[in-house]
Amino acid sequence: MPETTLLNSQRPPLFCPGCSHDSVLKVLDKVFVNMGLAANQICMVSDIGCSGLFDTFFNTHAFHGVHGRALTYATAMKLCRPELNVVVTMGDGGLGIGGAHVLSACRRNADITLLVLNNFNFGMTGGQCSATTPQDAVVGSGFLNRLDLPLDLQKVARAAGAPYVAVASTYQKDLGAILREAIEYKGFSVVEIQGLCPGRYTKRNQISPKSIAEEIAPAQEFNGEVKENVRPDYGQAYRAQAAAQRKVPRPAGLQALYKPPQEDGRQTVMLLGAAGQRAITAGELAGMAGLLAGLQVTQKNEYNITVLRGPSITELIFSATPIDYTGITQPDVVLALAPEGVERRYGVFAQLPSQTLVIRAAGVELPETRAQVETVDFKALGLNKLDWALGSLAVMAKMNKVISREMLQAALEARFRGKVLEASNQVVDKVYAGAA
């Protein structure tokens, strides 16, 4: 047998005498009953304030959260439980606090319903101004509400992409019909319901059901579906997109197929480049080359948050035994490809022993060092600056230091396909064809 009410017999409604919320609660209950919904087909989601009592007063699934954030819970619930009717109640306080979520919900278009119970002030805390308080109202925030323009939710929601927007009065006879249309609407529906707050607002301000009706009459002409915002709801669209995504294979790993040039002990490489040189990718390739020789590898990176500017440094350790500390103080090989990277590790050069190999890109100035410096003119080899980092790996391989050509080649084949692989191979070929 269908329910005659979904209100909570254990927690009967309790609002201030004359509170508009009490009327909305009862209208909403009737709507649910008329729609034939069972208690477990609905979740009432609310936050803080008098509108936050709705979840308690309904005997349905209920979620009461922190101020202004109800839309976030509701959105996720609808995605996780597509069959559930998710109805959010929020006050004008929560509307202001959670403004970003309101905008986002409009843009997102999850199939949920937002009821903003607008009584023009923060009732529970003493009638301070909210985002919807008129400038000429007398409220608990002194003169401050005279300075801010009240938010027009209808305009904002329409502009932000909500496909169903309505403004209503608590006291209009057909409020139930509007609420039902909103709940049944497939997509994000917003209804602003204006009403009286006898506890805080009506004592000092001229407002009545009649004045509300007059005030909202022009806006009500736009109630209903917003044609330009009509589109599939988020859940539907999400599921379609997700189903088209390809599954990611589990990491298969690289088998050790080669012998490293230096078989025992540990080798450390410091690549000092600049953003845009693909230094981090080159580090990954060198690391993969190490794996292909059965070595343990760590790759520690350093770069600024700015994109395409500043130093880009990658530090690699290759070892036959497990690697603990990932830092490098005395690298075996330094690839000095850009002044930005060299400057960031300036202090390292003075400490380098004579057996360290520094591969320097022509034109990059180095601090004083005892290390063995090999200069490579990448430009003369016909390499674009983007490829210098990969080119420097090829130089290392050509000198049979840390990685071999076959290790590098296999790493490229494991990492790249098609045109990228072809272009990468050409970089290696150019280095090998060069004079150095």
Binding site: R11, A39, N40, C43, V45, D55, T56, N59, T60, H61, A62, F63, H64, G65, V66, R69, L71, T72, Y73, T75, A76, M77, L79, C80, R81, E83, L84, A100, H101, L103, Y238, Q241, A242, A243, Q245, R246, V248, R250, P251, G253, L254, Q255, E284, G287, G290, L291, G294, Q296, V297, T298, Q299, K300, N301, Y303, I305, I323, D324, Y325, T326, G327
Partner: protein
């Protein structure tokens, strides 16, 4: 053996995936973004959900909604994001919502340095909720730990119905290393216990012989009620001091009394050593190297690596410290966990070794501290 080059963040995503995570919401932030990117690759093709929140507050809100619908949920951020998560962390703790929160720490305070590592949020994660109730914080050392501890984190969040933090660090999250992926330790999965049928459901009454309530998902057959407000067993607001204290003390007790069962750690103790090097996170790697080098020169030194930081594994700390005169706490901050060690090990000399300059603590610094 086939090795994969994997960064800590990626290992966390795979750990979450293998733990049965079905929901991720996050907001891009260096150095945590690659967890979001990886989850976006992993979950949608398997029917899971990934949302990019409009901000961090929303991301946590999405996770709470999803978790209450019965999904295992994950979010990932860095220190600035944890600040914004805070109100929802309190909600998750107080209202017993399972959730895993990854904090890939970066150098603070505030915006700080996005691409520099630190362990500066260790106390912050513990105290990031209003009310000061405990949270579980696990600290990985490397990519392998990132994988395994993430599964443990999901298990603990399901078992205790609480948020669990992974205290990672830029130096773990964005450092790639060789991993034998198929050989990684994969703990058996634990799921939240659904309320038995045929009896009235009280959402916050602990199940028999337990400190943790049964779970009912929102949207399920039976009605489920959730609230961020102070509540009694029935999930309604209460003003009864007896009901309030029963609930709140249980929230503390359920985690603290069981910590011995999840005090993850590595102990590498040396007989006759005066000094115990006690550490966690990425600093454990320098400490291992330092201790090995010292031992190579004939010096007896003990090493312990904590992987459960909160609640403080008090019994474990006492057991590890036994027989040592001095405990050196090595951490990438100005002495946050040292405070806890000092508090617990009152009979020991406790010294802090650390720094906050975005640079890893070097093995040589630890060796010097041992010699000092």
């Amino acid at each position: 053996m086939a090795l994969t080059l994997m960064e800590g963040n990626e290992a966390i995503a795979w750990g979450a995936f293998d733990a049965g995570c079905q929901f991720f919401a996050g907001y891009p932030i260096t150095p945590a973004t690659s967890i979001y990117s990886a989850m976006l690759q992993l979950l949608p093709p398997e029917g899971g959900i990934v949302l990019q929140g409009e901000d961090e507050i929303a991301s946590m809100g999405y996770c709470l909604g999803a978790s209450m619908c019965g999904h295992k949920a994950l979010t990932a951020t860095s220190g600035p994001g944890i600040s914004l998560y805070s109100e929802h962390i309190s909600f998750a703790i107080g209202s017993e919502i399972p959730l895993v929160i990854v904090n890939v720490q970066r150098l603070g305070p505030s915006t700080g340095s996005a691409t520099r590592g630190a362990d500066g949020d260790i106390q912050f994660m513990r105290w990031s909720n209003t009310g000061g109730l405990p949270a579980i914080v696990l600290a990985p050392v490397d990519a392998a730990d990132c994988y395994t501890l993430t599964i443990h984190a999901f298990n603990l969040s399901e078992r205790f119905r609480c948020p669990v933090f992974i205290a990672s660090n830029k130096e773990i999250g964005l450092t790639r290393e060789s991993v034998d992926f198929d050989a990684l330790e994969k703990p058996a999965l634990v799921e939240r216990v659904v309320a038995p049928e045929g009896q009235p459901y009280l959402p916050f009454r602990p199940s028999p012989d337990s400190e943790v309530p049964y779970f009912l998902p929102i949207g399920g057959e039976r009605i489920s009620r959730q609230t961020s407000s102070t509540h009694g067993e029935n999930g309604y607001i209460t003003t009864s001091p007896a009901e309030i204290s029963a609930q709140i003390e249980r929230l503390e007790r359920k985690l603290v009394s069981a910590v011995d069962s999840y005090s993850f750690h590595e102990a590498d103790l040396s007989a006759g050593a005066d000094t115990l090097v006690l550490t966690y996170g990425v600093s454990a790697r320098a400490a291992r190297q330092a201790v090995n080098e010292l031992r190579g020169k004939g010096q007896a030194v003990s090493l312990a690596v904590l992987k459960t930081l909160w609640p403080v594994p008090t019994a474990l700390l006492r057991q590890l410290a036994q027989g040592h005169k001095r405990v050196l706490v090595v951490e990438m901050n100005l002495g946050q966990y040292s405070r806890e060690v000092q508090r617990v090990l009152t009979g020991h000399e406790v010294q802090h070794v650390g720094q906050m300059d975005g640079v890893l603590i070097k093995p040589s610094q630890i060796k010097e501290a041992v010699h000092a």
